[in-house]
């Protein structure tokens, strides 16, 4: 009894945590089981978006020109590979997520974007997005980000996602200030990325990896190749080695970059990797050891089957 009285606070906290976690987990489990999200084809999305007239200037997003906004959505539906998270930003994780969204449910993407623009809030999966005022003011004003400068719908979506989802990497910078698209505010750690996909999209995600250590999956090439045959593979990479930005010899072994794997094959020179990031496909030849060194996460995303709906 004494023990109970002394630890009353701790017990109460543990009890609250238990009910909170079962509540959230329960909601996710229910969603996975019932799978209420629907997928669509690109043709359906094109038919829908081509029939949409230019919306009126949104009171919620004053810096987003409606003509450019609609144009941007059309471009992304017609050419999803051209989607561009911008030079120097930390939007690569959100870019990979939207790539999956556009490939799974382009019609859902178009409807979500239009709702978010018109109403200032919108729901997707089990999440409801209602971005902060500063996000609404900033979207459409980002500059010197390459093509992202003239893609206000993408700016809106990246900023909204970064404002909504938080991981431990965002602890010290949770609120947006101008320029934060390049900082930890916009960063995505591995668990956060997988959580976003599970919460928002109609995919089952099988993830192996961490933010600190490479996954122990045996031969990295064989593992990735095997996973690729069953679904879309997202790789979580150490970009400090892949795209060097400093000439130093000692490099931190920390992953910072998400790419969508397009192909991987063995060649005379080693391993040829083709991946999508930042608006285009890139081909790189690597040694097998190098591949193992840079891969920190392999997320296999498989579309849920109709029977699971």
């Amino acid at each position: 009894m004494n023990f109970l009285l002394k630890n009353y606070g701790k017990l109460l906290l543990a009890l609250c945590m238990f009910f909170w976690s079962t509540d959230v987990e329960g909601a996710i489990k229910q969603l996975r089981e019932t799978d209420t999200t629907s997928t669509s084809s690109r043709e359906e999305a094109i038919k829908f978006i081509d029939g949409i007239k230019v919306p009126e200037l949104s009171v919620y997003w004053p810096n987003i020109n409606p003509v450019s906004f609609l144009q941007n959505i059309k471009e992304n539906i017609h050419e999803p590979l051209g989607m561009y998270p911008g030079i120097g930003t930390n939007f690569c994780g959100y870019g990979a997520l939207i790539y999956l969204f556009l490939h799974d449910d382009p019609l859902g993407y178009a409807k979500f974007m239009l709702a978010l623009y018109k109403d200032g809030k919108a729901s997707l999966g089990i999440s409801t997005f209602e971005p902060a005022e500063i996000i609404k003011q900033t979207a459409g004003t980002l500059k010197y980000k390459g093509l992202l400068d003239i893609r206000p719908a993408e700016q809106m979506f990246y900023l909204t996602l970064a404002d909504h989802f938080k991981g431990y990497v965002n602890i010290f910078n949770r609120h947006f200030d101008p320029g934060d698209e390049n900082t930890f505010w916009a960063s995505v750690n591995y668990a956060k990325f997988n959580r976003m996909v599970r919460h928002l999209l109609n995919y089952k995600v099988y993830a192996r990896g961490t933010d600190l250590l490479q996954p122990s999956v045996g031969n990295t090439y064989d593992y990735i190749r095997r996973k690729m045959q069953q679904g879309i593979v997202v790789l979580y990479l150490n970009n400090r080695i892949l795209h060097k930005k400093k000439q130093e010899k000692i490099k931190l072994g920390i992953p910072t970059h998400f790419v969508i794997l397009q192909d991987i094959m063995k060649t005379k020179e080693g391993i040829t990797l083709i991946y999508w990031d930042y608006g285009h496909k890139t081909l790189r030849q690597l040694k097998p050891q190098f591949l193992h060194k840079i891969v920190f996460g392999v997320s296999q995303c498989i579309k849920k089957k109709a029977i699971e709906k």
Partner: protein
Amino acid sequence: MKSKIIYKIAILVTVLYSCSPRNISTKYYEQNRTTLDSIQQSYTKLFKQKPFIVGFTDKAFENISLEIITDSLTYIYDFKINEKRLSDSLFKYNLNSKAVTELINQMHSIRCTWVNSFDYFVEGEKKSLVFLSIKPVGLSRPFSNKKYYVITYFSQKQYYDKKGRLVNNRKQRQLQKLNGEVFKRINDKVSYTVSSTYR
């Protein structure tokens, strides 16, 4: 005894100040203007013929990273500076092999680590800028995280505040960062910063 210590501290401060990035930055462009402008002009001309990005990825300036941009794919290759594969690849992708090799040699001579070009937009109109990073010997001092002198060549005049910092436009005058860095005026179209990364 006291005066000796003060004297030593004064020497140390002078040495450290003379090695500081700020001091190097203000002079560097003017001292090396001919070579820097030449690299920018050659690169701009070659980029228009066939888009590519090139840089040195190691301290000894022996390893080259070459990114060849085509409509369907970007090819990234690593070469040693005199490797035959480099010229073979330039030939394979229809790059002007002689001119690109000259550009690489010119970059090597001035310890230029990286050159690329990217688009930006002013009121919907496409503009481009050339981004040049150099690692001058003076910036390679210990305890200094900022080791790269980065120059941007804009295709049109830019706006700067009273302190000479790049701002977004004439009306708002908000600091305009590039790659997360504040850039300072060299002239109307050229600005610089000192950065911890070369791209």
